[in-house]
């Protein structure tokens, strides 16, 4: 059961962030980004699907990926708060992507030696995807941070706004700790050094500074979210829930 919950946390992170990126489709600052953001979104949704599928199998109650994605409410969702943060503007979106990918890259690299075959499979695919997300989001953070006065101000705003959601990435729930102890998932706290390095390298070029320690927000892993997640889920689940039992 612990492994089921731990996989669910990971899957929720990927689905919610993928969903956020998909909200941009057709509204990006330039056409090239209308292609880049869905690419990242599709990576994330793809990973979420594999993880939900595996979680459902481990649970053994016959729940499918869609049952898990569409029929849990906000108190049952286990994603971290960072990924549910609204898109706000392109600066927030790229920084959120950088923060998440800078965590997930070393995480999936470590998961390549997982004792679980499915996790190893996901890791092999996802670590490459995350490497590209770091590059793409990182290059944008650099351009916006060291671009115009307006873009720099927006980038600083994003840093200020998202800073408080970073620490939660490195914290393991009870379920995650069990999965970590069994060698199925990597220890989240171990990713800190790599994350710091990745972000510091980008920030140095972007002329950005990490704010000093702030009171970190947490609660996603216990289903205590911000107010935004409920709206996201209401939208995401409305059709599926309006026709119980229907096939799509």
């Amino acid at each position: 059961m612990a492994v089921f919950e731990a996989l669910l946390e990971l899957a929720d992170d990927h689905l919610i962030l993928g969903h956020r990126l998909s909200e941009w489709c057709g509204h990006a600052p330039m056409l090239e980004e209308d292609l880049a953001m869905p690419n990242m979104g599709l990576d994330l949704i793809g990973t979420a699907r594999t993880l939900y599928d595996q979680a459902g199998k481990l649970e053994g109650k016959g729940r499918s990926e869609d049952d898990l994605a569409y029929l849990r409410g906000e108190r049952e969702y286990r994603n971290c708060l960072l990924v549910e943060r609204p898109n706000e503007d392109f600066a927030h979106t790229m920084l959120r992507q950088l923060y998440f990918a800078a965590f997930m890259r070393p995480y999936w690299l470590a998961a390549l030696t997982s004792t679980d075959e499915v996790v190893r499979g996901v890791a092999g695919k996802a670590e490459k995807e995350m490497a590209y997300h770091i590059r793409h989001a990182g290059e944008w953070v650099i351009r916006l941070g060291d671009g115009t006065a307006e873009s720099a101000a927006r980038m600083r705003d994003a840093v200020e706004g998202l800073h408080i959601y970073v620490d939660e990435l490195f914290e393991s729930s009870d379920a995650a700790q069990e999965a970590e102890a069994a060698g199925i998932l990597p220890v989240r706290a171990d990713m800190r050094a790599a994350w710091d390095r990745t972000v510091a390298d980008v920030f140095a070029e972007a002329l950005l500074e990490q704010p000093s320690a702030a009171y970190a927000q947490r609660g996603g892993r216990q289903g205590i979210h911000n107010e935004t997640l409920g709206h996201l889920l209401a939208e995401m689940q409305v059709v599926h829930r309006a026709y119980p039992g229907a096939r799509w």
């Binding site: 057709g26 509204h27 600052p29 690419n39 599709l42 699907r49 650099i142 115009t148 873009s151 799509w248």
Partner: protein, 327 residues
């Protein structure tokens, strides 16, 4: 996808008869015309306009389907729809690039779209009101577009033809994913089937209108045909579409909302009821139900993105300066 019969092209051209004859000889010999080749001004203008309209249609076309990405009822459908709408952005990009070879920039074309000067396919000025519309758009609208686009792969203008080959190759999955959605609904619960029928009722006639006015009323068709920018007439393509689609609807057990639709043995095709051309022209002239919203959404994306594009250019300038200083 989504080209519509060209609206309001200006084919007038003022070259000498000798020049025009020489050009026509190349066209008749199926030679491709490349951007820097000499060409009649009317040919160039028609292409800029048509490729521009086509590109705008792809970009505006992202909006009605984008409206449902966040509500797709399964993860499989969500991924497929996101990939499809993304493809449309890509197709817009390829087409803008093709038009840019004729010396008009993407920025200029975008400004024409946002000011209302440039047209795009009217079909996107109808609203998407249910999940079934994602299926119907793929099935009918992409289906109609494919009819238009396959001949465009042989268009006389090289960059346009090359862009269309790429578009058609990528698009092969679009109509199939749409039909699969409608099929799942048609074979689903009574409510789902009703949703599919309602969607077909709303999209059938606008899809037929995508081919443009009847040949007799299409002023610029002849010149475009002669220049091989266009290879079939509006009515020919519309007929092909109807003949292909009716059996597909029958397979689904859905009813095409045209009481006059019937097989005509003599012509080996279906006859259809009268198209409401008043509605067609109303929508073409910008009075479609979603016309204002579509342009507003594109304008917002463009305006909201200005600071991002400016920042990227400013950063590139700084990098250049730093590189020079370091040398």
């Amino acid at each position: 996808m989504y080209s519509q019969g060209l609206i309001g092209a200006d084919n007038r051209t003022e070259e000498t008869p000798e020049f025009l004859a020489r050009f026509q000889k190349r066209i008749d010999a199926e030679e491709k015309i490349e951007p820097k080749d000499e060409m009649p001004e009317g040919y160039r203008r028609t292409l800029v306009r048509q490729i521009g309209q086509h590109a705008h249609s792809e970009i505006v076309g992202m909006l009605p389907e984008g409206n449902w990405i966040t509500r797709a009822p399964s993860l499989r459908r969500k991924a497929a729809l996101l990939a499809k709408v993304q493809d449309e952005g890509g197709h817009g990009l390829y087409l803008y690039s093709a038009a840019e070879t004729l010396g008009v920039s993407r920025e200029e074309m975008t400004e024409e779209l946002l000011s209302g000067k440039a047209k795009y396919s009217s079909i996107f000025n109808y609203p998407t009101l249910s999940w079934a519309d994602m299926g119907t758009i793929g099935w009918l609208v992409d289906g109609a577009a494919i009819m238009n686009q396959i001949p465009l792969c042989r268009c006389s203008f090289g960059p346009y033809a090359r862009a269309m080959i790429r578009v058609c190759k990528e698009e092969s999955f679009h109509q199939r994913q749409g039909y699969e959605i409608v099929m799942t609904l048609a074979q689903g619960t009574p409510e789902q089937k009703a949703m599919a029928q309602d969607s077909l009722n709303r999209w059938w006639w606008p899809s037929l209108m995508m081919f443009g006015p009847h040949d007799a009323d299409s002023q610029h068709s002849d010149q475009s045909m002669a220049w091989k920018i266009k290879r079939f007439t509006n009515d020919e393509l519309r007929q092909k579409f109807i003949d292909a689609t009716v059996p597909q609807a029958e397979y689904l057990g859905l009813t095409i909302p045209d009481p006059d639709l019937k097989w005509n043995e003599d012509k080996g095709g279906y006859d259809h009821g009268p198209i409401d051309w008043d509605e067609f022209w109303r929508v073409v002239k910008g009075h479609g139900p979603m016309a204002k919203d579509r342009i507003k959404a594109r304008k917002k994306a463009w305006d909201d993105g200005a600071w991002v594009r400016e920042a990227a250019l400013a950063h590139a300038e700084k990098r250049r300066a730093r590189k020079i200083a370091a040398e």
